[in-house]
C-alpha cells in the first residue's frame, strides 16, 4: 500500500525529519502506491462537507474522517511507519478532513494554541496553482515560517513545537471552483 521506497528507508526519513531544528518536518510525495491512492481518492469524492465561518478564526468546510479511510491510516503498515518516523507510538489522535475553496482561510488565534505533538497531513488536492494561496503554514513567533507544498498523495509529518502555530493562507479568487482538500490528524 505505502510506496516501497519509504517502507525500505525509514531511518533516512527519520533522520531527515529530525535534522530540521526550527520546524521538524518531512514531506513524502507519492506516499501511497497508485492503486491504493485511487481508492482513497474515490472515498474522498463521496465525503459531504459542512461549511463553517467564524470571521476571526476561520472559514472552511470540514468532515469527519470516513471509516474506510480511518482503517487505511490506522492499518498496521501505516501506524508502524509513522511510529518509526516520529519515534513514538500513536495512542490518541484527532482527524478531520478539510476542504478550502475561494475566500476560505484560518487565522492565527491564541485560542488555537495546541499542546506540543505531531501533525500528520495528507493532501488530496489535485491541481493547484500556488499563487491561489491555501498553503498550510507554521510560524513560531521568530519571523521564521514553514510552508508546506500542495500536491496530491503526499504525506507530511510536522512536529508541533511549543510556540509554533499553524494556519492556512487565504484562498484567493484565482482559484474559482477549485478544491483544496487535505486530512489533518493531530497527535
Amino acid at each position: 500500500m505505502i510506496n516501497k521506497y519509504y517502507l525500505e528507508n525509514p531511518k533516512e526519513i527519520k533522520a531527515s525529519f529530525r535534522e530540521k531544528k526550527d520546524f521538524p518536518c518531512v514531506v513524502l510525495f507519492d506516499f501511497f502506491e497508485k492503486d491504493a491512492y485511487q481508492l482513497i481518492e474515490k472515498e474522498i469524492s463521496k465525503v459531504s462537507f459542512h461549511y463553517e465561518k467564524k470571521p476571526l478564526f476561520h472559514s472552511y468546510s470540514s468532515a469527519h474522517f470516513p471509516i474506510i479511510l480511518k482503517k487505511i491510516f490506522s492499518s498496521p503498515e501505516c501506524a508502524d511507519f509513522i511510529t518509526k518516523i516520529i519515534g513514538k507510538k500513536v495512542t490518541h489522535s484527532r482527524a478531520q478532513i478539510y476542504y478550502f475553496s475561494a475566500r476560505d482561510y484560518t487565522l492565527l488565534n491564541d485560542s488555537y494554541k495546541e499542546k506540543a505533538g505531531f501533525d500528520i497531513i495528507f493532501d488530496f488536492t489535485r491541481i493547484w496553482d500556488s499563487s491561489a494561496g491555501g498553503q498550510i503554514m507554521y510560524v513560531n513567533g521568530t519571523g521564521d515560517a514553514l510552508k508546506l507544498p500542495i500536491q496530491p498523495n503526499s504525506l507530511m509529518i510536522v512536529r508541533r513545537q511549543k510556540n509554533a502555530q499553524r494556519f492556512v493562507k487565504y484562498v484567493n479568487h484565482t482559484s474559482p471552483k477549485k478544491k483544496r482538500v487535505f486530512l489533518l490528524m493531530r497527535i
Partner: protein, 70 residues
C-alpha cells in the same frame, strides 16, 4: 478613512463592517465600496470589527486611514 481611488462592486475591496456577539465578529452587515474622495469613519470598540475584502482587479485600492483617541 479617506479613499483616494474608486473600486466598483465587481472589483472587490469593500470595507466590511461586522455584527458581533459577545465581542466576537459574526457576519458582515454593511459593505462600503471605496470611492475616490469619500470619507468613512466609525467608532472603534471592543465589539466593533471591520475588514477589507479581497481586491479582485489589478486596479489599486489606495486609502488614508487613521485613529482618533479621546
Amino acid at each position: 478613512m479617506l479613499y483616494l481611488t474608486t473600486l466598483e462592486k465587481k472589483d472587490g475591496g469593500a470595507l466590511g463592517l461586522y455584527d458581533s456577539q459577545k465581542s466576537v465578529a459574526t457576519k458582515i452587515v454593511k459593505r462600503i465600496q471605496p470611492r475616490r474622495n469619500s470619507f468613512v469613519f466609525f467608532i472603534v470598540s471592543k465589539k466593533s470589527f471591520h475588514g477589507v475584502e479581497e481586491v479582485l482587479t489589478d486596479k489599486k485600492r489606495v486609502a488614508l486611514s487613521g485613529w482618533l483617541y479621546d
